[in-house]
Symmetry: D2
Subunit: 343 residues, 4 copies
């Protein structure tokens, strides 16, 4: 039995506690939050869980094996480091940290101590995203040409991070899992419409080796909610609409055909358009966080590295940093490898 | 009666001929196209129209008052210049020319000869776009925060111009008409997925003075067709979906409210979210090209300048040039006023 | 403080307990269910609530003022009657009873004892339905011409009642609240596709005095979920799509105009088509069951009759009976007043 | 070469003329219409076609092989009979005639003279409808349980026929082609909202042997346009939405499974729900009327009977008659075989 301590019972913490409470082989032993009224809610629903306003009680409890951290991003580094230093496995909310330097520091600490460090990129564990990765890995889509994602709605404006750190982090973690390679540079633009506040609208272009590119559009100030991703491949193309109650994923047998026979012109490629069936694979309904929790427990037990490990978290943080930097320079390209900090 | 010569009877020419044939006060006297099979189609439908494979017959006909040019963009400058020099008023397809230098040369020529020079930014004459402009001009939306447009589908790949010149020209002409100010710089990214061919996917960010920005996403290689524009304002926001058979335009009484009372924190602006009714104004069904044709004839008769005059055409060409330049440099900002060429 | 006993903690009971727990002036004192595992769930979430497997404990508790009954429909009559006879106010799930005779008996009992008898027609308390009623009552729609509702999905097949009693009961309760008059007869058709089981697909036409009609289509065996109601009026028309996350209600300024000037023909009415704006009023998000719960408590305190009182419940049961009867006779008209049973 | 005469150049005639003009092996020789202004349109587009205001010129022309009739339904019988008696093959608009007696008379006449008699049930020749038939015929859907169709919009009110004859005729012709058997009875309800005019809203239930039923909802007075058909089968189910620009047809691998193992109850069938992939087959874009025209020419040349022959036309007219009769009696069942008139 893996005993878990959960730090933070605000927006996401209740989901962690609920799922870990129902996962075989895991128990939520303690929940900490500095707001007593939130702990009262834990008490009402889970009378057997220990409560504390001081998260250090979790670190010092020798019976706790793992810590799940669901607090504001600015606190992730200190809490995760303390947990690792106390010998606990760690599951930390996304974004992993506020800087790639911090992320690397955590990766080192976990490696040194042989502990599992996992980042809660929840979308990676949804059946839609896993199906998309399957379709890419099995070359069903052919060569991947582009990844285009839109995540816009009205609210919730954050005060401490810009919209990229809040919303694009989802798209980047999905992209990072689904695409076959890593971007080498980013160009981003964005703007704040509230004086003194971080950017509430942003556009990111990500460049990859070869002829693959990605783009993410995020916006806290949109009249309608949109959660839509297009993936273009040489053989097939995907539309992933997360707001569809069913048929979230549509696979189109569409594309272009290039004809080497250049009768019409020696200068021009003959391009044909191919339109076939559309197919919406059935997706399992299991809650992503349950699958993720089971994976965390399994990694702890077997000593394996999770799919969304510290490296995956670091890659996302690096893109977020670079995008923020590019945005300040109105789209100026920022290369991702230049940002590497010596480990 | 204004006699019109139409050059080019390919994709768009038939629409020009049909509309000018039905507009009171105008007559299509001659159509030229270098493909006889296309002229045969004119003959079948409009037996009274003169036909020629040599467009110079139009320029030399003293009874022709105005010329409508619907040929590939690379030929616009030469044809329009010849027409103006022959003393004809000119309506030219968009994009106006392949360079801002050419566009300025045409503007000069028209001004010198006191002729009407109009660019066929058809969307500007649709009831949806005119309604959007009304809502902006009357401050119904409040201050404008952003303009975001997506225009993607499968095909038709062009060989001589990239996707920006082919598709974004529509969005930029709408934007130029609807927004209260002009952009000062552009950052663009894009890619070609067919070796040796121009970019088939592109993203443009446009920067304006103040806190207004615009973004356009265009793509010839998308599995689905999307024609959707969001306009965010401080009071209201718009969704314009041109594929909706009815209710193309939806006006949302949504937004944020900023609270000066900073009780919770002296560092943070209190942001509230406001959600009210949605309203889809009824839009007239008159074909845009008919309204545009009537406007062209009226401008000729009254000697006034059209809404989509040479200057409007030039502004769009300037943005297209700058975007193409920025795209080569992976998003590097290109300022629009630096591109000005001495007149 | 009104003390409430809830009977039945299956599908709907938890919603009743949750809402009454949060309503000021009400307390859930006891929950009964004959399945101990369901009572264990109550215990985990609401440690202070008394539990019993014998609902008679609720009837005999002098401190309980009101009883909410969320059990299968076949048990409604006995439980409600016992509760009323024990002097308790009653809120009973829909359909109220399995026969109009039973419904009338409960109405009599409640009247005799001066107790509140309310039927849980939850939809009546949603903001969308209340807005529809407003639009009808204020004559915004003009004269009402028709009410057309579709409620189809895959599952859940019931074994004890046909699809009309399970699904159409929702539409009928909405219709009953929104329309200005009562139907006088029903014609229904339907079929079972599972041997020995009740009808899983059905169509009901309801006739009203004047030129108003209603139709309800219900189906447990549909590939997609549809929840859509059209209301046609002489001035305006409504589309109510309950699956829309926002803009559930759309009001169309559309209709026909009749022209008395019969120039074209002395035999024909000249009909014109009028198309104006569409408007989607903002709807409050308060949970319907909370509003309904507050109304129940208020009716108990003030001794007033609820909107969805026993009479409303009886009207629906009468239509359900008549529809089932008509369905057996493949659409033969069944008049509703003929079914009246002497009180 | 088959020479064709077209009678009527109002709403549908131009489509017939255009298609027959482009079909190899066919020529439109003459068009008749009693309105000279409509004939002027023919002249402008097709200068070689003969024109007449007297349709008898078509019957008496020995070089005309076939006649296409696109006039109001009340004139179909007289015109088709005259054409057949003049030895011409006939393609007649739907509904075939105003009575089944007339339809039978035409069938007899065509049979006696060995002429092709075809009814223009255009939808039968669309790729979507042919695909649906394939899916039924190949038992891909399993046993067919129901056919449910909605065809509503605002306008165009007819003065001479009710909404069933105008709109349901489409659904019935599709149903007749797609379903494996014929209905034996109909129950219909409907209403007129314009004094003195025919019913503008109607609902038809059709009964078949076995556990198959069909329902059609038609309405000239709806705020939105809907063209949607559901077909439920024991293996798969279809949604056909004719307003979708692409993916008009969606095949759902959904249904119920019946479990013989009656552990839970000896009285109840155990019903499970099965949800699998959705698939939208690619549909060819060829215009239905072109396919239909080719079929007509082919039937004439080979002496075979068309898919939508006189018998098919008669079956639809019989249902329209019966539905109208049932509607007058507020849903009273009208059996279709009782209506048979001795040939």
């Amino acid at each position: 039995m893996i005993n878990i301590g959960v730090i933070g019972y605000g927006y996401w913490g209740p989901n962690l506690v609920r799922n870990f409470s129902e996962i075989p082989g895991a128990t939520v032993k303690t929940v900490s939050d500095f707001k007593p009224e939130l702990l009262a809610k834990v008490q009402a629903r889970y009378p057997k869980i220990n409560l504390t306003t001081d998260c250090r009680d979790i670190f010092t409890d020798p019976n706790i094996d793992a810590v799940a951290i669901a607090t504001p991003v600015s606190t992730h580094f200190d809490l995760a480091l303390a947990a690792l230093q106390a010998g606990k496995h760690v599951l930390v909310e996304k974004p992993m940290t506020v800087s790639s330097e911090q992320a690397m520091r955590l990766i080192d600490e976990a490696k040194k101590r042989n502990l599992v460090l996992m980042v809660d990129h929840t979308f990676v564990y949804t059946s839609a995203v896993r199906k998309m990765r399957d379709l890419v890995v099995t070359k069903t889509l052919g060569d991947i040409y582009y990844y285009d994602s839109v995540r816009v709605n009205l609210g919730l404006f954050q005060h401490d991070v810009n919209v990229i750190w809040d919303l694009a982090v989802h798209d980047l973690s999905i992209m990072n899992y689904v695409l076959p390679s890593q971007p080498y540079a980013v160009s981003a633009t964005g703007m704040s419409h509230v004086p003194g506040e971080p950017e509430n609208i942003a556009y990111l272009t990500l460049f990859f080796e070869g002829n693959l590119m990605a783009h993410v559009h995020v916006n806290w100030l949109a009249p309608v909610k949109v959660r839509r991703t297009l993936i273009g491949g040489s053989q097939k193309m995907i539309v992933f609409d997360d707001l569809e109650p069913s048929e979230k994923l549509k696979v189109y047998d569409k594309g272009i055909t290039l004809n080497g026979n250049k009768e019409e012109s020696i200068y021009k490629m003959l391009i044909g358009y191919r339109t076939g069936d559309m197919w919406a694979p059935h997706l399992e309904m299991t809650e992503a966080l349950r699958i993720e929790g089971l994976h965390f427990i399994d990694c702890i037990k077997t000593g394996t590295s999770p799919i969304t490990d510290g490296e995956a978290g670091l890659q996302i943080v690096r893109i977020l940093e670079a995008a923020t930097q590019s945005m300040k320079k109105q789209g100026r390209l920022v290369e991702l490898d230049l940002m590497k900090v010596a480990a």
